[in-house]
């Protein structure tokens, strides 16, 4: 796909996806009034 090896798509795409999920998780669980 896109002239790229599967390894490149999976490793780069997978890393971006994991980070996005982690940052969404952070946003959803952020408490607005810390100590």
């Amino acid at each position: 796909m896109f002239g790229l090896p599967l390894l490149t798509i999976v490793s780069v795409g997978g890393t971006v996806l994991i980070i996005l999920i982690a940052l969404i998780f952070w946003g959803l669980n952020f408490k607005e009034s810390p100590a």
């Binding site: 490149t8 980070i19 940052l23 946003g27 952020f30």
Partner: protein, 504 residues
């Protein structure tokens, strides 16, 4: 001959920046207004300030340049750099903002001084290190200004530097962080919109994304791999791992980035800024890298010929735009985009240097009885001095400076990351440990950076040089902290020290 439309566009941009400086100057009543904008930045101004601080001119040109030189194995840079903003907010920002608001911090040194109970020694060491590293980084930024103005207007190097520096200095001196932040908002919009329009044009001129990858693979199959292995390979998995850490954590704790945390109006902005900054800046970074890949095709097809200079790859985006766009007036827009990227970092660096000197050294160490007005004056003078000194260095950079600019982020990573992270999250971390971590981290980064840059083969370096210095800094922090008495529990509670980000 200078194209009047291109010159007009650049002139309008520069006048707009000066107008922001004049407008911002009216809001400044005291040193807090000047340095942290009275802790009044709202969501988008703060988000753009963070993006602007991280997105330097050399990263704009250098990202494409690195992609052109080493292809897909460099793609991790596009993830790590935007992630540094998220890292800074999540791991430093939430906790530090809360303590800063309560204790009235205006620099990160205020935090270090309270946490490590060292109002002079650690504050001074950190401030001096921050000033030196920021000045080196600043001198590097001027190179990008020069590249653009020399290319577009054929100006001599010294004149290009002088014009760029004069404008940034003017609005930074008069408007302080209000000017820097609002200028960053404008610059950020210009940068994002500009790259989203310009980069695809360059990519299409090279036959589109898929064609670029196919051509790159035909030149060298490893060009489209996520990493490379074997003798002589640079972007190996171990190197990429350390490069990722360096960019994510090193930029997050860079003085001109982390201090922005203290300017935010409300902690609730930290909820979604990490995601939005990552997505927005990530998109810009990926497009810039793909434009660098397109350069490989454009050079192969003979559509562009790079200049015969040492840093020729840094010109790839500039020359790619020139080949893809027919109008000189559009080049003017491109010049404004690059200038916006350069200035958004340059202004923040200058203000950081000025503040570190005026607040942390002059007010807190040399003249504790100096009043607000005097400190503000010293701050402004320091910004001008920072501009003059770095300009002189950048006009004819000595070889040592070229090396230091290259090593800049690595030095920040090895010097500041451990004292900050240990200070926030480890109650056993002590003043002596922090000083050892900072001092040895700095010394080790200079040593290993020297080995790497001058290709001195003392031992095979599988990781980026800064990683070795970082490890030494960690070891120094742990060993020295355990050998020295812990801090008072009351101080640790006041500074929210502990193994948590937010106290539940």
């Amino acid at each position: 001959m200078i194209d009047p439309v291109a010159a007009g566009l650049v002139a309008i941009y520069c006048i707009a920046m000066l107008a922001i400086g004049v407008w911002a100057s009216r809001k400044i009543q005291n040193i807090s207004d000047y340095v942290v904008a009275g802790r009044s930045l709202d969501f988008w101004v703060f988000t753009m300030l963070m993006i602007g601080a991280v997105c330097s001119g050399m990263s704009l040109l250098g990202v494409s340049g690195l992609g052109f030189k080493y292809a897909w194995p460099t793609i991790w840079e596009q993830i790590a750099v935007p992630l540094s903003i998220s890292f800074c907010i999540i791991f430093f920002g939430v906790k530090m903002w809360t303590v800063a608001k309560k204790s009235g911090y205006i620099t990160v040194q205020d935090y270090l001084a309270q946490r490590y109970e060292s109002q002079q020694t650690l504050r001074g060491l950190s401030a001096v290190s921050g000033i030196v590293v920021s000045m080196i980084y600043l001198a590097g930024q001027y190179t990008a200004i020069s590249i653009v103005l020399m290319w577009l207007f054929g100006l001599p190097h010294w004149l290009a530097l002088l014009i760029g520096a004069a404008i940034v200095t003017a609005y930074t001196v008069i408007g302080g962080l209000y000017a820097v932040a609002w200028a960053s908002l404008v610059q950020g919009i210009i940068l994002i919109v500009g790259v989203i329009i310009m980069a695809p044009i360059v990519i299409m001129a090279a036959g589109g994304f898929t064609n670029i990858n196919e051509v790159m693979a035909s030149v060298n199959p490893t060009n489209v791999d996520p990493w490379v292995t074997g003798a002589g390979a640079v972007f190996t998995p171990t190197y990429i791992f350390s490069f990722f850490l360096l960019l994510t954590i090193g930029l997050a704790c860079a003085p001109h980035v982390i201090n922005n945390i203290l300017c935010v109006k409300d902690v609730k902005y930290f909820k979604w800024t990490p995601l939005i900054a990552f997505v927005v800046y990530g998109a810009v970074m990926f497009l810039l890298k793909f434009a660098g890949f397109a350069g490989i095709v454009l050079v192969k097809d003979g559509m562009i010929t790079l200049p015969q200079v040492k840093n020729a790859s840094d010109f790839i985006f500039v020359y790619g735009v020139q080949a893809a766009l027919p109008s000189i007036a559009l080049w003017g827009i491109f010049a404004v985009i690059v200038l916006a990227a350069v200035m958004s970092t340059t202004d923040r660096l200058m203000l950081t240097i000025g503040t570190y000197f005026a607040w942390d050294i002059y007010k807190k160490i040399l003249k504790p009885d100096a009043d607000d007005k005097k400190v503000l004056f010293v701050n402004k003078i320091s910004v001008v001095m920072a501009a003059v000194v770095t300009l002189l260095l950048a006009i004819n950079p000595p070889d040592m400076l070229v090396w230091l600019i290259w090593a800049g982020i690595g030095i920040m990573f090895a010097t500041f990351a451990v004292p900050l992270l240990a200070g926030l999250y480890w109650r056993r971390a002590t003043r002596q440990g922090a000083m050892a971590a900072m001092g040895l981290g700095l010394a080790a980064s200079l040593f290993f950076g020297g080995l790497s840059y001058f290709k001195i083969d003392l031992f095979p370096m599988a990781f980026h040089f800064s990683f070795y210095a970082f490890v030494i800094s960690v070891i120094a922090m742990i060993a020295v902290s355990y050998l020295t008495p812990p801090h008072d529990e009351k101080v640790l509670d006041e500074t929210l020290t502990g193994w948590y980000i937010q106290k539940s």
